[in-house]
């Protein structure tokens, strides 16, 4: 059982200075953290890295809007979404480390860096398992919005099913994520409708954004061997099972926005390998250079 609150260290014990109290909910309180019977730890770790890296990299791309968004309200909205995703990434990377400690980069003796941070900040590009969809440049507001719509629609459909996972930790993480993602999808969908039915310029940019984002959509629907194995075990969700629902939902949003589903050619992988196998575009290298450089310069640092 897990009785430690993930927030203990952040509050330093004294909650008197907090105007609204500190009764935060720990999504993993009381959850059984033992690996489910018969599940391969390495496969579970790989699966957690896939879902965790999707969230981590998308979170970073969204956080680039901080102080750059069209207005203050949207600035904070995107930062909120980024923080939700970062929270999901933290829990998923920690689960990956618990399921298979060998995936965690080895740091100097005595380093206080927790395993989930070591995975985020000290792992090389080819060990990242995110889909390439989330790593591309943030582009303009239309690209960011269309990508958030695709990513959150897929992730919400997936997490709704993952909430019944045989792994109690994945199930608890998914239950927390569903509430967050419902808001992300709603936010993105409203903006796509607004942009699509707005001015000539907003419509032109949104059509360009669809053409940028759509070629990478197929990667989300493709079932990786790890997903197939764990789905058969009742631990993971086979993305093939959510593809039809995601199609319908995206079609609804585009129809409301008066936009057409673009005819595009898929962005190919490398010999059939894609982001889920660690094959990425150069955009991820730039994300990691920015995200990891400070942590890597201070492997024994305390944050």
């Amino acid at each position: 059982m897990n009785d430690d609150s993930v927030y203990d260290g952040l509050l330093g014990g004294d909650d008197s200075q907090w105007a609204f109290g500190t009764d935060f909910e720990d999504p993993l309180a009381g959850v059984d953290t033992t690996l489910p019977e018969g599940v391969d730890g390495a496969a579970l770790a790989a699966y957690c890295l896939m879902l965790g890296d999707d969230a981590l990299v998308l979170s970073h791309r969204l956080s680039e809007w901080c102080s750059n968004a069209p207005d203050l309200e949207e600035d904070i909205a995107l930062a909120n979404v980024a923080l939700d995703l970062l929270g999901q990434a933290r829990l998923l990377l920690a689960r990956a480390a618990a399921a298979d400690p060998s995936v965690v980069p080895v740091l100097p003796e005595g380093s206080p860096v927790p395993p989930e941070d070591a995975l985020a900040f000290f792992r090389d590009q080819d060990a990242f398992r995110n889909v390439r969809l989330v790593e591309g440049d943030r582009g303009d507001f239309a690209v960011t919005t269309v990508r958030l719509l695709v990513a959150s629609t897929w992730r919400l459909a997936l997490m709704q099913r993952l909430a019944t996972s045989r792994d109690a930790v994945l199930s608890a993480i998914a239950a927390k994520a569903v509430k967050e993602l419902a808001y992300h999808r709603d936010h993105a969908a409203r903006w796509v409708v607004t942009l699509g039915s707005g001015t000539e310029e907003s419509r032109r940019r949104t059509e360009a954004a669809l053409a940028t984002v759509w070629p990478l959509r197929w990667e989300l629907d493709r079932t990786h061997e790890v997903e197939r194995t764990l789905a058969a075990d009742g631990v993971a969700v086979d993305p093939a099972d959510v593809a039809a629902e995601v199609d319908v939902l995206l079609d609804q949003v585009l129809a409301a926005a008066g936009l057409e589903v673009p005819e595009v050619k898929r962005t190919g992988g490398l010999g059939g390998r894609t982001g889920r196998d660690g094959v990425h575009t150069e955009a991820l290298g730039k994300v990691l250079a920015e995200m990891q450089s400070v942590a890597r310069a201070h492997p024994a640092g305390r944050w």
Partner: protein, 101 residues
């Protein structure tokens, strides 16, 4: 960027935001923000003003719909209440465990 130069948008209207906190009893004014319509104002308010567990309910009102008293009327409106000590129930002992007084 001005609306004329960019043709993107004019200034969105200002909305006043009221939030009812978990431990509060009524909606309290917390600030204002810009939004294109009421729906967007509620969502912006959620993002701007309830990030730290502050709220369980949000009201938004277009700032232009708020009618306010004028500072010039301060004396006739409020000064007469200043010396009516008998309107304050300060002569009662309030038990320590009565909240929200």
């Amino acid at each position: 960027m001005s609306a004329a130069a960019g043709g993107v948008r004019g200034e969105w209207p200002l909305w006043e935001v009221f939030v009812r906190g978990k431990r509060g009893l009524n909606h309290v004014h917390v600030g204002s923000l810009h939004a294109a319509d009421a729906e967007m104002a509620v969502r912006n308010a959620r993002d701007v003003y309830t990030r730290r567990n502050e709220g369980v309910s949000i009201w938004v009102v277009k700032a232009s719909d708020v009618t306010a008293s004028s500072p010039d009327e301060k004396d006739p409106l409020f000064a007469p209440a200043g010396d009516k000590v008998y309107r304050h129930p300060t002569f009662y002992d309030v038990p320590a465990d009565v909240p929200h007084m």
